[in-house]
């Protein structure tokens, strides 16, 4: 009897868990892990195809690719280009989305036709980024519809695609238009997660809308805000299709709308330069990892502190 019980106790279903996980890990290994390892590996090699056909290397060159990317190729310029264009899109996105999220969730406002507005603001996200960029390219070309409208009200044509400020502005506003609907919906979920009694309590205490927003809404949705910040930042680092299409892959004027991934595309598209491409990808990986870790720690610090306070409180015997 006792033998039987012990045997039954040792029956484990865990192996089925592992078996069912195999498909995921196999796909992950083939499509993510192996390429990732290879990218790191090739970043230490000189390895490209002359004119796209004649292989050169792979020759081990140590960290030469990483030195080159900062000295010969001026990586910092493209990092700052990417950061500036991301900020131009992100800041208005945050402000407008926040405003819309608060308005849509505010029970006292009772906005009608919410479903309609939510659909409309989300719509730009459904368009392919490249199609969107093509549209803007046509709209804002030197003799495009926008300039015709300007001319008809007596304003001289603006060569939108020839100046750094306007090109960056267009890229930023496209990213803003594509993503603010998505962000609004995420933030709304955050705001709706706040217990309504908090707002009521604040109201009873005589807080105005401004105070309620900064003292209750913002602190309560901090985790969602951070999540949004991280995903948007990583998305920003990978910015490619919009500026690529809008500037015909050139990143002009003066290469100031050229992003990091457009640089990667330059390495890969003609000479299949796996060495430099690898080095750039590794740098991107490190930047992304650092940003994510920083944000993750920052978030966890808050919750850890709260936990500690709770522990302290219970040790003192309060909160019973």
């Amino acid at each position: 009897m006792s033998k039987l019980t012990r045997k039954r106790k040792s029956v484990s279903y865990a192996k089925w868990g592992y078996i069912f996980l195999i498909p995921f890990f196999a796909t992950f290994a083939v499509f993510t892990l192996i390429p990732l390892v290879k990218t790191f590996y090739y970043s230490f090699f000189e390895y490209y195809f002359e004119g796209g056909l004649k292989a050169v290397g792979p020759n081990f060159v140590g960290i030469q690719n990483f030195v080159d990317i900062f000295t010969r190729y001026d990586l910092l310029k493209f990092i700052s280009n990417t950061a500036v264009m991301w900020l131009i899109g992100f800041v208005p996105q945050l402000v407008i989305s926040m405003l819309l999220a608060v308005w849509f969730t505010d029970l006292t406002l009772k906005i009608k036709g919410q479903a309609f507005f939510k659909t409309v603001i989300y719509l730009p996200n459904m368009i392919m980024a490249s199609a969107f960029a093509m549209l803007f390219f046509a709209l804002f070309s030197d003799r495009g519809p926008v300039n015709s409208v300007l001319n008809s009200v007596g304003i001289d044509s603006v060569r939108f695609l020839s100046y750094t400020g306007t090109v960056r502005g267009l890229v930023g506003s496209m990213n803003f238009m594509m993503w603010f609907g998505n962000t609004t919906i995420i933030l709304m979920a955050g705001v709706m997660g706040i217990d309504n009694s908090m707002f009521e309590a604040a109201q009873i205490d005589g807080a105005n809308a401004w105070d309620t927003f900064w003292r209750i809404t913002v602190p309560m949705i901090k985790p969602i805000l951070s999540y949004m910040l991280i995903t948007s930042m990583i998305g920003g680092l990978q910015m490619f299709d919009v500026p690529q299409i809008l500037t015909n892959g050139v990143g002009n004027p003066n290469r100031e709308s050229m992003t990091l991934i457009m640089l990667l595309n330059n390495y890969i598209s003609k000479s299949k330069n796996y060495g430099m491409g690898g080095a750039l990808s590794v740098i991107l990986f490190v930047i992304t990892a650092v940003i994510s870790m920083f944000m993750f720690n920052y978030l966890n610090k808050d919750s850890r502190q709260m936990q500690k306070q709770r522990q302290l409180a219970s040790m003192k015997g309060g909160n019973k």
Partner: protein
């Protein structure tokens, strides 16, 4: 039942008889092209033997896409199944050198020196590899001229006769003088920044790249200086080559005087222009632009058929004559073109009935493309991109050159400057 079987057998035998010429070859012909220019010529003038399907792989040129797709296909050529092997691919002058090792020597296809004796020499030079073997043939030659608007010439110059207009535009000085006259009449001389580019670079004294080093040729600098001057004086419309605004300037109601290009330019790329509006003259300097060569891919499973196609489409004088008549091309046969040049009845409707062959004929013999490298396409694209900023007044000349060098190194790490 027996009757049915015998009927089937007979049918099968008859079918195999029909296909006897290319019987031991594959049934799918894979052809790589970047647009439908040659595709329409092929479908119009070549009869594909029964049982063979032609699979057109049309990959747009932009962003190096065509070459990338072609590279991948050619690199997989040995391992690909017979029906997937590349049989024919087309190349342009700007990168033809790159594919020399991957194409058949035309002598191996049974094409003799006699067959190609009538072709323009430069079309052979461009496809001749280091060992003197010819790796591809073209049906067209690309001597280019200045294509101008007849009505605007009449308005400002008082005549639209190509010979008189040519006298007024015979060198760059007079070209600029006319530009000034045009400007006074509210007409732009050229549409954009890159229009005269080929007239300069086709007459460069060095190659773009020599021993891995990017060169700064005086001809390129002359183009930059001229275009800057034209931009500052408002003699161009500030457009970029192939942009919609640039094409729109060809329209009947626009005020842009001239474009530069060879026969393929006005027969294929000037769709936005109105037939009868235009005429062609030699322009300030003789030059050539572009051209398409047909290569037989090594490893093809349709060798005899491919050889026959190349022969028919580039050597057969009847076909070349028909192409001139129906497509207004300038074909690669000295005798055929001389015949057209001396034919007073020949004319092109787009050019108001003008015989463009007689205008371009002399120039065709002078084309020299010995300086081609496989970097020409990237250099051309990138110098234009980099200089647009300079013309727009965004950067100074040194910065523009630096931007050009940097992007060249990104795309071709083996180069230096």
């Amino acid at each position: 039942m027996k009757k049915l079987i015998s009927a089937l057998l007979i049918a099968a035998m008859m079918l195999s008889l029909c296909a006897v010429a290319f019987a031991d070859e594959g049934t799918v012909l894979n052809i790589f092209v970047w647009n439908d220019e040659w595709k329409t010529r092929f479908t119009d003038y070549y009869t594909v033997p029964e049982g063979v399907t032609v699979n057109w792989i049309e990959e747009p040129n932009a962003e190096n896409n065509y070459q990338n797709k072609l590279d991948a296909a050619l690199q997989a050529q040995d391992s690909a199944p017979a029906d997937k092997k590349v049989d024919i691919f087309l190349v342009e002058a700007d990168y033809a050198v790159k594919y020399m090792d991957l194409a058949y020597d035309i002598a191996d296809l049974g094409i003799t020196a006699e067959d190609i004796a009538d072709m323009y020499q430069y079309t052979l030079d461009i496809m001749t590899d280091a060992e003197g073997k010819i790796k591809g043939l073209s049906w067209q030659a690309c001597p280019a001229g200045l294509i101008y608007r007849r009505d605007l010439a009449l308005e400002v110059l008082g005549t639209d006769d190509p010979e008189t207009v040519q006298e007024m535009l015979c060198d760059w000085e007079s070209f600029e003088a006319v530009a000034e006259m045009m400007a006074d009449a509210g007409i732009k001389m050229v549409s954009g920044y890159d229009d005269t580019y080929r007239t300069f670079t086709d007459n460069m004294s060095t190659s773009w790249v020599v021993d891995g080093k990017i060169q700064k040729d005086a001809a390129v600098e002359a183009w930059i200086a001229q275009t800057k001057k034209f931009t500052e004086n408002g003699w161009n419309n500030g457009t970029k080559l192939w942009d919609p605004d640039w094409s729109a300037d060809m329209a009947h109601d626009s005020k842009v005087f001239c474009y530069f290009g060879p026969a393929w330019f006005f027969d294929y790329s000037m769709g936005a222009g109105t037939a009868g509006d235009w005429a062609v003259c030699e322009g300030p300097v003789g030059f050539s632009w572009g051209g398409t060569w047909i290569c037989a891919a090594k490893g093809t499973d349709n060798e005899a058929l491919v050889a026959d196609i190349i022969k028919t489409m580039t050597i057969d004088k009847d076909v070349l004559t028909t192409i001139v008549k129906e497509k207004s091309d300038f074909t690669n046969s000295v005798s055929v073109m001389e015949g057209f040049a001396n034919d007073p009845a020949f004319g092109d409707a787009f050019l108001g009935g003008q015989n463009y062959v007689s205008v371009l004929l002399a120039n065709a013999q002078n084309i020299n493309r010995a300086k081609s490298t496989m970097y020409d396409q990237t250099c051309t694209e990138q110098i234009q991109n980099a200089m647009h900023d300079y013309f727009n007044g965004i950067v100074d000349l040194d910065t523009a050159w630096n931007n050009f060098y940097t992007v060249m190194l990104e795309k071709h790490p083996e180069l230096s400057f």
